[in-house]
């Protein structure tokens, strides 16, 4: 028995082929079988997209899903629903759970839970070092066979240069990707926000912005001698972006991403100790924010990730230095990214590419493209109608967002995974 679905009356947006035009898309058994106009309707369920945008489902290459270990903050089920509501069809979890994802059985556990939940596809990274301790390597080959997409110590940098060198070198055996949290930990120790006039006025322990570029520069030396594939997570400073831009010109296998807080906010969001604006790495200066936008516009920054970090009230309703870092991001990634399009800073297809095609390519996932034979994962969204972000409407278990009340444009109407609709917006 086949399940054919025909999506009609859509503006098809495909970054990989530069397609932007009206059309229809036919899926069968979870796979795209045809794109074009006036496709055959024989036996197909018809879904009218109402003239709205239909793009590849978003691929979120970094989120903390809190399961296993911190289910009071988020579960696969709540994260899956939040991701679906955010137009995300694949989300990749960081391994910083309890226990840490550093064994095959745990990678398999995530895959099983993802299937059980049956919403957005949930994949996972495994840690680079056992227990995130930064000392011994995990069984990268076996973990990769079990389904780990890449290796990262999550919110911790692999600080020891020898361990990092070995990790990169060993990863080349299997052509695996190492993802770094690029922050020199000693320079960032105890810091709560980026160093500058505001940190000085507020009397908050500060992190020098060079902590980021310093770690990336060191790593690039190691990438050069090992030939490994390296990805810098959530870049946030002008210097780091510049260094990556030059490394790409030199032909190194380096990629990077950023997250909405780093182009939608700057350090002033901390204001009077607003803990919802505490993130790691910290929000930076306006000059750095502009450099992030520039990096997205010229393609130096490959991808946009949600950097989803659910935190309960007890973790945020405390003094700023004691507060946990992080912002919930699954449900706000698309509209915040689209601000850059509406402000004429990044073209629409490049932006959508950074949200789907590029992360899929970096992680070698069959996703991120509207093409025959690809999994039928897409998102239908209203590009223009203004609305306000409301944390109370989030599907995530947590509400820690500094974007509550922010007027945005771009709302997810429908999310489709393997040809099946997993989310539709409430009709207002």
């Amino acid at each position: 028995m086949t399940t054919r679905t025909l999506f009609i009356n859509a503006r098809l947006l495909d970054p990989a082929s530069n397609r932007d035009g009206r059309g229809e898309i036919l899926t069968n058994d979870g796979v795209i079988v045809a794109l074009g106009e006036k496709l055959s309707r024989d036996g197909a369920e018809i879904i009218d997209c109402g003239g709205h945008c239909l793009a590849p489902g978003l691929v979120d290459m970094r989120a903390q899903l809190r399961e296993p270990g911190d289910e009071h903050q988020e579960t696969m089920a709540t994260a899956g629903l939040a991701a679906a509501a955010g137009g995300i069809t694949t989300v990749v979890a960081l391994p910083n759970t309890d226990p840490v994802i550093d064994e095959q059985a745990l990678v398999e556990f995530i895959a099983r839970r993802s299937r059980d939940v049956g919403l957005t596809r949930i994949r996972t990274y495994a840690s680079t070092t056992k227990g995130l301790r930064g000392k011994e390597l995990t069984e990268m080959g076996l973990l990769s066979s079990a389904g780990a997409l890449a290796f990262t110590d999550g919110l911790k940098a692999v600080a020891d240069p020898l361990v990092m060198r070995r990790a990169l070198s060993y990863a080349t055996n299997f052509d695996l990707l190492i993802i770094q949290h690029p922050e020199e930990p000693r320079l960032a120790e105890g810091g709560a926000m980026t160093a500058g006039e505001i940190s000085t006025r507020l009397g908050l322990p500060a992190i020098s912005p060079i902590a980021e570029v310093m770690m990336i520069e060191r790593d690039l030396r190691l990438v050069e001698i090992t030939g490994a594939r390296y990805h810098a997570a959530h870049v946030s400073t002008a210097e780091a972006i510049d260094v990556i831009r030059r490394a790409k010109t030199r032909g190194l296998k380096v990629t990077c991403d950023t997250a909405p807080p780093y182009f939608a906010l700057n350090e002033t969001a901390v204001g009077d100790y607003r803990t919802f604006a505490k993130v790691s790495p910290p929000l930076r200066s306006e000059d750095d924010r502009r450099a992030v936008v520039e990096g997205l516009a010229d393609g130096t920054i490959d991808a946009i990730a949600s950097d989803h970090a659910p935190q309960d009230q007890e973790s945020k309703r405390v003094p700023f230095t004691s507060a946990a870092s992080g912002i919930v991001g699954l449900e706000t990634m698309l509209p915040l990214a689209l601000e850059l399009y509406h402000n004429s800073q990044v073209p629409l297809l490049r932006l959508l590419g950074a949200l789907s095609q590029r992360p899929a390519e970096i992680l070698r996932l069959p996703a991120g493209k509207l093409a025959e034979g690809m999994p039928a994962d897409f998102t239908v969204f209203d590009l223009d109608t203004p609305w306000r972000i409301a944390v109370d409407a989030f599907h995530s278990k947590c509400r820690n967002s500094p974007f509550d009340g922010r007027p945005v444009q771009g709302r997810v109407l429908r999310t489709v995974v393997a040809g099946k609709t997993i989310y539709t917006a409430d009709k207002a």
Partner: protein, 317 residues
């Protein structure tokens, strides 16, 4: 009786920082405080302005000097003053700051005087209670009553604040006293210099409207006021300075360094002092130059003015 009989109402709900105060706000507090100095030297020091009002001193961080000063100030105004130290309260049992705030709020205090080791903690607490809150020092952020008492000391000794050159010397980076002082003195038209080793100056400090020096003789040249800051002895472990000996040699205040300041330059220190670290004992005890003891005396008067200004506000609960 020297204080005016007209009630003094401070036009802000709380006193959380110097930042945000106008020159008029500051002058009004200093004028009011000045009126209490004589009274505090009398045998009968007690007033009844705050009779029936409850003042809670909530200190999450050790302090004898500031807590005692607030306690005396409250009692001299006839208020009921209660001290709560973190060591004896349920904070040790894991109660959060906001739980504490809600619990205290239910007891209907009129003023909370709060000290906390984290910047912004006092403001966070102020957002959750119905009464007036006075910041008695939060982390590395502000210590507004210290800056007010320093300003009163300077005003009494020099007759003005406007146009004076004030050198604030030492561990500026970790000092809430330095932040409150540079803001207050800047607001009142004084020229503020910071003198410290680079490791003890915070980021972008030059954007705060101050002149920055790393050499005592340059920084102290023709200064009217030399304000020394306490060096936390654990700063050596953090590699901020190599040794106490080296620190004293280059940044400790002695007569030799003081010689470049104005001949009548006034020496101040918020206490407690590390003699032989940031200040030479002889200089600290120099009765003609040092205002350190007077600072302590005026602290009570300033806190009386602040408590009066905030403690008499009409309650809406």
């Amino acid at each position: 009786m020297t204080a005016d009989s007209a009630p003094f109402i401070f036009p802000h709900r709380h006193l959380l920082s110097i930042e945000g105060l106008s020159p008029d706000d500051i002058t009004a507090l200093l004028d009011r405080a000045e009126g209490y100095i004589e009274q505090n030297r009398q045998g009968d020091k007690k007033q009844s302005l705050l009779r029936g009002r409850t003042i809670v001193n909530l200190f999450f961080e050790e302090s004898t000097r500031t807590r005692t000063s607030f306690e005396l100030a409250g009692k001299r105004l006839g208020g009921d003053t209660i001290n709560m130290a973190a060591q004896t309260s349920s904070i040790k049992k894991g109660e959060t700051l906001l739980d504490t705030a809600i619990t205290l709020n239910a007891m209907h205090p009129d003023v909370l005087v709060v000290r906390h080791s984290e910047s912004g903690a006092v403001q966070l607490l102020a957002e959750k209670v119905d009464c007036a809150v006075i910041n008695a020092g939060d982390g590395m952020h502000e210590h507004p009553t210290q800056a007010l008492l320093d300003a009163l000391t300077i005003r009494l000794r020099k007759g003005r604040l406007q146009g004076l050159t004030v050198a604030i010397c030492g561990d500026v980076a970790h000092s809430r006293v330095a932040r409150s002082n540079l803001l207050l003195l800047g607001t009142m038209g004084a020229r503020v210099r910071l003198v410290a080793p680079r490791t003890l100056l915070p980021a972008a400090v030059d954007r705060l409207g101050v002149e920055v020096y790393t050499d005592m003789e340059q920084g102290l040249k023709d200064a009217d006021i030399v304000m020394m800051l306490r060096l936390q002895l654990e700063r050596m472990q953090g590699s901020f300075v190599p040794s106490l000996r080296e620190y004293f040699h280059f940044f400790g205040l002695d007569y030799k360094k003081l010689a470049v300041a104005k001949p009548d330059a006034l020496i101040m220190h918020p206490g407690p002092m590390n003699r032989g670290v940031e200040i030479d004992t002889e200089v600290a005890d120099d009765i003609n130059r040092s205002a350190i003891r007077q600072q302590v005396e005026l602290g009570v008067a300033v806190r009386m003015a602040v408590l009066e200004g905030l403690g008499q506000q009409p309650r809406n609960n």
